[in-house]
Amino acid sequence: MLAFTLRSLWRELASGELRVLLLGLIIGVGAFTSVALFNDRVHQAMTHQAGELLAADLLVQSPSPLPEAWKQSALGMGLQLAETTSFRSMTLAGERLQMAEVKAVSRGYPLRGRLLVAETSGHSEQQRQAPPESGSVWLERQLLDRMGLKPGDDIQLGESGFRISGLILEEPDRGGSLFSIAPRLMMNPLDLPATGLLTVGSRAEYRLLLAGEADALEVFRGWIKPRLQVGQRLLGPRDSRRELTSALERAERFLGLASLVSLLLAAVAIAMSANRYARRHLDNTALLRCLGASRQLITRIFTGQLLLLGLAGSLIGLLFGYLVQHLLAALLAGLFIQQLPPPTLQPLLLGLLIGLVTLTGFALPPLLALRNTPPLRVLRREMPLPRLSRLAIYGPALVVLTGLLAWQADDWQLTLLVSLGLLAILSLLTLVAWLLTRMLQRVSPSGGQPWRLGLANIARHPEVSIVQLVAVGLGMMVVLLLILIRTDLLDAWRATLPFEAPNHFLINVQADQLAPLEKFFRQQKQPAPVIYPMVRGRLHSLNGTPVDADSYAQPRAKQLIQREFNLSWMERMPTANRLVSGHWWSRTDERGWSVEKGIAHSLGIQLGDRLAFEIAGQTVSAPVTSLRKVAWDSFEVNFFVIAPPGQLDVTQASYITAFFLPPGEEPLLARLVTHFPNITDIDVGALMQRVRSIIDRVILSVQFVSLFTLLAGLVVLLAAVQSSLDERIHETAILRTLGALKGQIRVAIVTEFMALGAIAGLLAALGASLIAALLADQLFGLRYQGNLWIWPVSLLSGMLLMGVSGVLGVRSVLQKPPLQQIL
């Protein structure tokens, strides 16, 4: 039995009968596996060392130094302690300037995970649980490279100079911010004061790291919770995960979606091939039954064949997917701070399962219908064919695939949304494809031109034509959409920024530096920028009622209320602001707040409401006198809440400014940092570049995976072409007998497929433009201008793609001599 099954399977493969089915399976499994493997590696990177990501079991994070009493209590509860202080600052070596993420760590750090440092002396890797010695620092390789330094060299940080004594190879809680903005510099906390970098209003993050028994940790958790001030947070392993996964989760879902659409299309191709296969095996089966094969035996033969084929195809698909995920990881490598761990076995097993499920779900039903072939068909060919309803054939498989979608997205709501969205797009594409094929029906083949025969052929098989159009159109649409996002939308977003928009922010400016800073800019022959005062405060009450995170249901409002606000005061409203309601203060002795409209909406603040802010222990209360709309993408210094001069305590303020540094003027920054070591420069241009490159890479990877979708679409085309091959060969033979020339038939075939391609291209351009417009509006807040070139490009690529694959698919038609088919 097995030998018979194997032999006949081999014969079918050799004859090319099952090649399209196999191809569909390989692409479907490949698409699914590559993404599943990649996602698995990212998940591992993020969850594998969940505890280690914090370098502790529990930590308290605060924007201000933590009270000594907390540390004493933690020690009293038998917990281990360590402290870190992190902030961004410029580093200097000679004329070279580079932003670094500075972190001062106490003895004992890290409490969990490992800190690997290659010391300058000896070059051996060492696991450390202490800071570098006073007067020396450890750097990440990236920082060394960017500054052109080597271990043992000196580097300037603030007002102090340090010797580079080691290279950081691994840092446990570095993954805390998935996308690193600047490379790490690690120092001893004893050296911090001398740098002069930490002053009032400095943006630093203070962390108290804790580790110990679970019970003790629980006790501490209970003790500290009521003592936490606004801006202070308690983080456990789970919290850290939530924060850092959100960005990549979106990319993962896109990838997952693209792979599932490919899988779905591959399933359609598999179903079409299996149908043709079953149709062609009716006579064989009837004969087998005539010769005494039981229905059970027929079932066993076809199931066996399918399982063997499924195993072979899935294994090749797995290999294919494994190779592709390597490429994916390489594409996205720059985004991860750590090396991705190797993939686990689970996605591979899952890929195998998916392959078998897809194949049995979509190919087995038509094959199983074969066992009902009446043996009498041997004598009477016109016997009705065994037929199953489409729902019975594909219903269960569709349910399984939807389940997979839900499981992949891990979110029923999202699944529903995505399924509905996909359904809407598919319906739209199908509708337009139907309309266009209907229009072609009016093209009558009369006139004798072969191209009309080709066009009419599309309309004569509307069902097959529509499936081909939608499959290829969908694949092209995804690719096109990503091109639009990568070029058009990002360009449109960038174009909203004026060329001379400030590209540098200076923060941590102190009151006594205002005049010297202005003088500095004058000396450098640069326009002196407007400097704004800034104090940090927490919204304490609204109309006399105290507010905290629990007062709000919306996550954004919760987030806002937990943060400290940057408050400022000024006489005149900044240029990038527009008054929406209320009035700007005319007298300086007036009291009031001017609140940004968006935040007012989120927090339910109305004109006239009384807001009280708590600033360094003091409460400042005033009514809301105006609401403003702010053009955030102007990159000017902007504030959510502004007060009139005199309302806030000047002694608490630090200052902030933004300026445009023309290209080629970079040495000015080095001089600035030398003069004012405590001031932190934030290079917005570089930041934007970084953001853009991240988006670019993510889109590139999604685009890469979406090529699978296009490929799967083409396999559907091939399956459809193959399913009509017998009919085509017959028709061509008749036409040849009636005197049609080869050239005429070729023109008819080329016309048919090019016209299909043109329609698929139009569908793709239409779908991509609609979705791009929607994304522009919803995601980027832009009005999408549309892009005219995608129409001809999409049309032509569709014609080329379908023209070539279609003609290749039916090339055997012209090679068969008509005699065999006719007489």
Binding site: P445, G447, K742
Partner: protein, 234 residues
């Protein structure tokens, strides 16, 4: 005019030493051997013989659907061996009409469109009008917009006859035209075929194993194992 006369004086079909050999697992196999044949304008010829005697092979070679291993076929004085496939196709559409046992209508076209196809292939400007007339002639005008699968066997064969005569061919090749029809329907189809043949003075080659049908032809040619057994005629 003189050219026309000249054309009518030579045979429309001439086969000389026509042979076809195919390879088989047991070595070369002769399916047609040394057939000679001359057929004049307006003659009707029945080719009879048992299954596998080479009837269909002969028909295929005469129509230029295949090339002989040896010998030659001349249609209207034109040697088929000297033409490439497209050249033979061109000759077919100008000269030949076909009626097959299994009808061979294009399944995706309506009856009318099927009749239009050969007219369109020669670039006839009034293809539709002419096709409608022909369907009228075979009594299928009311069913002109039906597709083959909506027509009975007899109706399909009538469409095929209309298609065969539509281009006014000089030579009509019919391969077992009643083979797939019941006796009564077959009778009607044959009557129609011969009636049209007489009207249009078409030369006819009819492959059949029905002796009664063969008797209606002016000449008869019997094949056995690829060889010409006997030829008779009036």
């Amino acid at each position: 005019m003189s050219q026309q006369k000249h054309a009518e004086s030579r045979p429309i079909v001439r086969a000389e030493d026509l042979s076809k050999q195919v390879s088989s697992p047991d070595g070369p196999l002769d399916i047609l051997q040394g057939v000679n044949l001359d057929l004049q304008h307006s003659e009707t010829l029945a080719v009879v013989g048992a299954s596998g005697s080479g009837k269909s092979t002969l028909l295929g070679l005469l129509a230029g659907l295949d090339l002989p291993s040896r010998g030659r076929v001349e249609l209207n004085g034109q040697n088929l061996n000297s033409l490439d496939e497209d050249g033979r196709a061109r000759l077919r559409r100008e000269l030949l009409g076909f009626v097959f046992q299994s009808f061979h209508l294009l399944p995706s076209l309506t009856a009318l469109e099927n009749v239009m196809v050969p007219l369109e292939l020669v670039g006839h400007s009034d293809a539709r009008i002419l096709a409608e007339e022909w369907l009228q002639r075979v009594g299928l005008q009311p069913r002109r917009l039906h597709r083959p699968n909506q027509l009975s066997g007899g109706e399909q064969q009538r469409v095929a006859i209309a298609r065969a005569f539509a281009t006014s061919p000089q030579l009509l090749l019919a391969d077992e035209p009643t083979g797939n029809l019941d006796q009564q329907t077959g009778r009607k189809v044959i009557d129609l075929l011969f009636e049209l043949n007489r009207e249009h003075r078409t030369t006819l080659i009819l492959v059949t194993h029905d002796t009664a049908l063969a008797d209606q032809c002016s000449r008869r040619l019997e094949l056995a194992e690829g060889r010409l057994l006997q030829a008779s005629g009036c």
